[in-house]
Point group: C2
Chain length 486, copies 2
């Protein structure tokens, strides 16, 4: 695939040479899935425009349903169409309804078909990855990216990891909650002692916490991390500080030499290229000592595969000569995986993504959303209560004011709480949380809600069963019960 | 001490014979502490009345300070007194200020002097109790009483347990949070495996969860548990159901025969007498199968000590013939302890407490309050956010509307978050939570707050250090910083 010399000046997608280590088939598969999902959401506005233009024709309802079936793959709620003759079609409700219906179909597909799972012969996947991780000296990989929608695909796309084999908890600015992580560490260690899962407690492995901050290489002062004022150094330093805080919390709270390992990476959201702050022999990292995988992509693209891998190994060790062997191997894997993603972005978008800014289709608020492994699809406000998350939610509403409200379209919000079905009363509590949070959102953004510019769908899911999502209520449905449609 | 025959008809305190197993010295000590604390709070209103009557005299400020020093033990803030000549003394602010100052002194005393600790020779206490608990087959005793202020003294008074050797988490209706308890179980088991605390994981002991519901023997339909509509059977059934849910959650979530033991007790808040739902051989309990310790008090009061203990043992086994030996021994201990409390209440109050209803002095909102081991001193709203706890807070404000606001006095609210000082950033997070919750309370009860009928003091405490409380802010202080007083 190494066709032609390195292009000088701006390149178009077709001119781009692929990297020797890029996995073309995997790229094609992941790309296809992303395009399928996004085009379904992208189809909503043009389809509704066409339908809107027909609303005063006599056979409006049947023609609208024909178009909806063909373009969107589902029928529209009859009551909304039937009411159009009285005043005019309630486009806001219809838009929210279509967004929610598309989201629901996307979820059903994800949980029934497992489209991002390993394929036959993908030796690095799932079980394979857990085993590999343990040979590197880690029994758990706990990743906290920034909650920014441009990092929502970090696990499965940017790092090409099996999404079920790692823990993901997103926070604004990647500033994860130390108490929550300590709790997860405690649970992890208990299960090793008690059940030998994922390995027994006497195995010499540790819990690895990874923080992913982000920046924009083409517009660093505006399209970087909002939580850190688009200051890349600040974002990296804050991530490193939080990691050290977590480590110190474990060391101070538990005896017998308890500790954890840490890794800091940065993501260029324009090109999905990572930089890795390779730890030294003592595990120490520095904000200004990192390996830039974009550079590595350029210098290794046209080598043969084994030479390219060799150069990656060298580069990791040159960055931090004392790096532990297992950590180095994990980092090499992450880098090689990332080369495929860089290659894929280049192949499809050229020098950088066209949408380097926000372009989400809906807001997700609550706990869950395992299916969101795609970039710029959903703005995620991870929350238990609106009271604690007002800042995150306000940012989300501000983004959707720019994206939707200024065009007269609503901000669609999915309120979602996943629960563990084997715990008695867990579903009831998830349902109650959905209701409470929905009420709090309605009351905080009462003005938008009353003008039909904010719609809410309430969803729960039993994350222990291999279950689909369960829709509880939806403000865009006539009977306040979405998903009654076929 | 067994003087005279059993009195017939209502008895006065002086007529009451003491129970053979009642510990007179311990009763005197606990009683003295309770009286000291309560009388300090009780002195506030009469003292302020006297001071109010003087406010237009020429030497008002110095006379007021003399009275305050003498009656309350501290001086009043000069700015409030100095402003009195302009309009009139701001009694609301002054009342809140005195309540907060008294609370602060009470806390400082508690954390510096440890007034409820074991005394020399108290063989059943602290280390002794943990060892005893393990011989009964339990490594942890986790108690969830109802959050009702009439059960705030459950651990140290009603059950006479060392308050630092058991876990207490209060919830409205004793309906504890299963997820929170599962998390505590996980942590407990991890520490046993990892550090052998409180015993090693191979010791054949289990985690014991105890629920304490409550009722009123003299006015069961009005002074019982508000969360269960004063329905004793409902309160007991709901407690039992929650216990079984917790057990099932552990059994379903963890393998290798993981389980816990359960115990349900009821408390008659008129007399502090408990009833124990003694578990059968399989650990099963029934709402209508319990041992009434009040009855046992009557029938054993005038026996000799060893005969009384023997009857207690018999009664436990008669209630549930198959009860496990260790569980039976723990229950016998709780019963004998409770006899002292019943005796103490009888001795001081006769047939029942005079204040069988609410008589709290302030509301506590947040997480912490280890020092609150006294009955009817504080209404406790255990909360992380106002959003999740609106119901509990509304009840508290309603109670204080009856107790204070209708007399023109404010509802004093202590917002408190304890933190683990060894966790980096923990204090900052506690401070931020205090501020967030205080703002949310001010906004929810804006009408009261603006009329000076709601005052807030913000407090944090490092619960890992043996530290005093730290006052962050107070709406009753001129500089919004309480505790600037000497």
């Amino acid at each position: 695939m190494r066709t032609g010399p390195k292009a000088s000046g701006p390149r178009t997608a077709s001119q781009i040479a692929h990297h020797v280590l890029a996995r073309a088939e995997e790229n094609a598969r992941l790309d296809r899935y992303e395009q399928d999902v996004k085009s379904a959401f992208d189809a909503i506005v043009p389809t509704l425009k066409r339908i809107s233009a027909l609303q005063h024709e006599t056979d409006f309802e049947s023609r609208a349903q024909d178009i909806a079936r063909r373009e969107l793959g589902f029928e529209l709620p009859e009551d909304i169409l039937a009411d159009a003759w009285v005043e005019r079609l309630d486009m806001r409700r219809l838009h929210a309804w279509c967004t929610f219906a598309t989201y629901r179909r996307f979820c059903d597909d994800f949980f029934s078909r497992d489209p991002l799972a390993a394929e036959e012969g993908d030796r690095h996947f799932n079980g394979g990855f857990e085993g590999f991780l343990q040979t590197c000296g880690f029994h758990t990989l706990d990743i906290s990216p920034c909650a920014d929608g441009r990092l929502a695909h970090l696990i499965r796309y940017v790092l090409r990891l099996p999404h079920r084999a790692v823990r993901r908890k997103s926070y604004a600015g990647a500033l994860f909650d130390i108490d929550d992580s300590v709790q997860k560490w405690v649970e992890t260690e208990m299960l090793r002692f008690r059940s030998g899962r994922p390995n027994t407690a006497d195995a010499p492995t540790r819990y690895l916490k990874l923080v992913a901050y982000h920046f924009s290489s083409s517009d660093p002062e505006h399209e970087g991390c909002a939580a850190h004022g688009s200051d890349t150094t600040k974002a990296a330093a804050a991530g490193l500080e939080r990691l050290l805080g977590f480590q110190q919390a474990i060391e101070n709270s538990f005896c017998c030499g308890a500790s954890i390992d840490l890794l800091l990476i940065g993501v260029d959201t324009d090109r999905d290229a990572i930089r890795v702050h390779v730890p030294d022999a003592e595990g120490g990292m520095a904000v200004d000592r990192y390996l830039d995988v974009m550079e590595l992509y350029e210098t290794t693209a046209r080598l043969d595969a084994s030479r390219a891998r060799h150069d990656i190994q060298d580069a990791v060790r040159q960055t931090s000569p004392g790096v532990a062997e297992g950590m180095a191997r994990l980092i090499e894997r992450l880098i090689e995986n990332n080369l495929s993603q860089i290659d894929s972005v280049r192949g499809r978008h050229g020098e950088r993504y066209a949408d380097i800014g926000h372009a989400e289709h809906f807001i997700g608020a609550g706990v869950g959303f395992e299916e969101i492994q795609l970039r710029n699809l959903m703005y995620f406000a991870y929350l238990d209560t609106v009271e604690e998350a007002t800042q995150d939610l306000d940012v989300g509403i501000r983004i959707f004011t720019g994206l939707n409200v200024r065009r007269g379209l609503p901000a669609p919000v999915v309120v979602r709480f996943d629960y563990h079905g084997q715990v008695p009363g867990a579903r009831d509590r998830a349902v109650a949380r959905c209701r409470r949070v929905s009420e709090a959102i309605k009351s905080r953004y009462a003005d938008l809600f009353e003008r039909g510019l904010l719609h809410l769908m309430q969803v729960v899911r039993d994350c222990n069963a291999d279950a689909p999502i369960e829709v509880l209520a939806c403000t865009a449905s006539a009977d306040a019960k979405a998903g009654g449609h076929r």
